[in-house]
Structures are given as structure tokens and as C-alpha cells.
Symmetry: C2
Subunit: 269 residues, 2 copies
Amino acid sequence: MTTHPFDQALALEAESDDLYRGTTSEHYWNMISPFGGTTVATLLQAILSHPRRLGDPLAMTVNFAGPLQKGTFRIRVHPVRTGRSTQHWQMDIRQGEDAEPAITGTAVFAVRRDAWSDTESTMPDVAAPEERARYASPANVPFLQMYDVRYVDRDPLSGGRESDTQCWISDVPPRALDFPSIAAHCDTFIPRLFVRKGGPTPISTVTLTINFHADSAALRKVEGHHTFAMAKANAFNGGYYDQEGKVWSRNGILLATTHQMVWYRDQSL
Amino acid sequence: MTTHPFDQALALEAESDDLYRGTTSEHYWNMISPFGGTTVATLLQAILSHPRRLGDPLAMTVNFAGPLQKGTFRIRVHPVRTGRSTQHWQMDIRQGEDAEPAITGTAVFAVRRDAWSDTESTMPDVAAPEERARYASPANVPFLQMYDVRYVDRDPLSGGRESDTQCWISDVPPRALDFPSIAAHCDTFIPRLFVRKGGPTPISTVTLTINFHADSAALRKVEGHHTFAMAKANAFNGGYYDQEGKVWSRNGILLATTHQMVWYRDQSL
């Protein structure tokens, strides 16, 4: 049995409880740096590997402060404060002798327990992934080959006055969903500026937050290997826009909501 | 002219470029700790005071890791990495000799520039604040007296199956909007669990993110001292729920979107 390329990308060597060494993946390479989703997933993987980890991911914020280069990197994840049911983490990624981290972030892990529960954001009733064709992106970057994305509501590059899209996402080859892959799916959405402009323009994620709504027990109830995702922007303003997304399992479990701020360049009128 | 209580709460004494000393405010006290909105605003104020600060706030994440006590506290804000148009910050708040921070977080500041811009999330057409009565909260905590909140769509404690609310928010006494007050407004929304349950139940914000959509130039176009806010929850699950909000100026400028994860206790069925 061969290891899934996603698991290869997430492979870490522990140097101490808080320090992990990894290597960027050619499979999940973007234009000039790693796909941000794998960076986020690798940080999560480091915390999941940590001997002092409490519970499951509840929230994480990852800041893309500087460029990550091809090659090895060092992740530091540190449990700053551990309570009875929540644990707060600080994290960063550095390369070589660079004094400044390329990536910074924080995460919260938590233990869920019996409590009144209700999901207000339910999954819309949409066509199954088998009823839609895999989207062939005009962008030729490696990581896009690692995801099978099927839009259910529209051609994402048809332009128009709304940035909303709805799609199914699956790892290629298919892989069971877990916290790192859900985190990576949260960064696979086609950039909202491309949706508005009907084509690519220079963009770069500056900061990304994921709120997790499912714990390990809920993940065991997930069926299939697809997520269903809705995404939209609230505003494009002066070189920065936002993206909001919701991610469900195929059988309608709300897995995560996510928000990012993205740098862009667009001088069109 | 007396200083507004909000500005008193935000008053900081610089000990070095990165270190600021402040004191918790009795005006903005919550049940057992300071109102989180002032904590977030004070962190922002520290960065705004920093001699190396670049541009305006773009995004910030604040994690409530441990309890803040009444009295003095020390804020550390550090510019981790400064690019041409973005600047990444790490920050924390500590009290006394405690080795562990009570608050951690990150922020991104940015310089906006000429670019194609469009706001998709426009403000709904609603009744003016003068046409609605100030909401009298049944909760008797000091900070609620510092905000004039007027709901336009419903009684927020009427219960029901949806957590959505819409309201006008103003500082008491009225105060011009700036980045710290906008950040604080992002944490004034009545907890979504109270909305669903029709009354108070134990809750505590664990982590809060704000994405800013307006820069200093846009703030100069803001009219009035009210914000209009919409908030909702996506899911309540096993002791943690989320809250999403959007905040506009009275004349319809989208100022911020915000998301938080909240701990709660509720054993009802």
C-alpha cells in the first residue's frame, strides 16, 4: 500500500515535543510556494502529534507572513495554556537561518461534551458529485491536480456580480476525511476575485481562520470522502478581499467554517 | 472636556516599543472579567501606538486563554515581519508574575492602494435607530450600560429556531467610530445561545477574529456614531458554538466582519 501524497506532504520528524521538521511537497506545490492548505494542515498535524495535546481542533488562525521556499522547514508548536477543556497553542514555521518566521499562528483545541446542540447552517439540497463533471482549471499548478472539484451551481469563471460558488471537493486519489484534510479543503476554493473577474489575477492569502464544528466522534459519522463547500466574499477593497466558506461532509455534517483575507492586484475598472 | 470612558479604558503607558501597561476598566467590566471587546480594542490600541506600525488593521485574532483579573496588565505587541504593504504582529497580555499569558493573538496591518473594489455584502434597508427603543438587557453587568443597542428585527430573547439578530450599536455617551471602537462593537452582540434559549446561560468567548474592510481613508467617510450589525450562529455543538457578524457604518460602509468560537454550558434538551 502506497502512502497518499497528502500524508507524504504531512510527514514530520519530531526533534522535540515542540519542534518538528518537514519538507515541502512537489505534489502540493502552487505557483511560487506551497499550497496554503497543506501548510495549514501540516501545522495541525504537528499539534495532533504533540504528546501534550488535549482534545480536537476547535479553531486555528494561520498568517502567511513571508514566502516559504522549496525544501525543509521547521515547525514550532507550543501549548501556551491548558485548561480543563480548552488548550491554547502558538505556532510558527521557519526555514534555514532566517530569524523571522514565514508563518505564524495560533490554535485552540478543545474537548466537547454533552450539551444542547443544534446546527443552524444546514447543507443545501444539491446535485450529487457523480452528476457533475470534474472542473478543469485553466491554471496549471501542481496542487490543483490533487483535488477533484465539481461545481454544482455555476461555472466559477462565468463572471458576474456575485462571488458565491458551491462545489464538491475530494482528494485525489480519494482519501478519508480527517482534521488535516478538512483544514486543507478550507483553502481549495477558487479565489473569489477569479470568480468576479472570470479569470486569474495575482492574489495571495494573508491570513486564514478555520472554526471546526465537528470533533473526533462526529468525524466517525462522516460518510464518503467528499466535502461540500460554499464560499463567498463580502468585500474587495483597495487590494485586499475576504473569503468566507462553509464545509459539510457528504451526509450533511457541518465540519468547518472558514474566513480568510487575501491580497490582490487588479487595476481594471 | 472629560475623556470618554472608552478612551480611559484604552489608556496605555509605554514601557518600551513593544511593552505597554494598562489597567482594567470598571465601566467595561463584565460578570467576572473585563468585557472582551475592550481587551481586543486595547491590543489594537497598543499596535496603533507602536512606532514601527505600518498602515491600518486588516485582521486580528484574539484568544482568551485564561482569566484577566481586575487591575493592571502588561501588553506585548511585536512586529514579527514587515513587508512592503503588510505587517504581521504577535501579541499577548499578562498579569503579575504569571508565566502564562491570559490573552494571545496575532494581527495583520496593511496599506491599501488603488485597485478594483466592490462590496458584495451591502447593508439591508432597516428602520433608523431613532425609530427603535434602546434595549434593556436583563443582565446587570457594567459594560452593557456603555452601549446603546437597538434591535430592528426582533426581541433578541424571544427564542425560536434561528439565532439571527440585527441591531444598531452606539457607544454611551456617543463617540466617533475608530478602529478600537469598531473592534469592541464586534464583541457586543448578545450571545447567540441567549437568543436561541430566550435567556442567559453560562458562556465565555474562547477566540475571536475580526477582518477589517475599511481603512483610515474609508473611516473619514463614516457618518454618525452608530454601527449596524447582523449576527448569527452556524452551529452549537457539544459545548462550543460559533458567532458570525457583519458591521456597517450608518451610511452603509462595511467596516468589519467577525467570527468567534464560544464555550457554553447548557444541559437542557
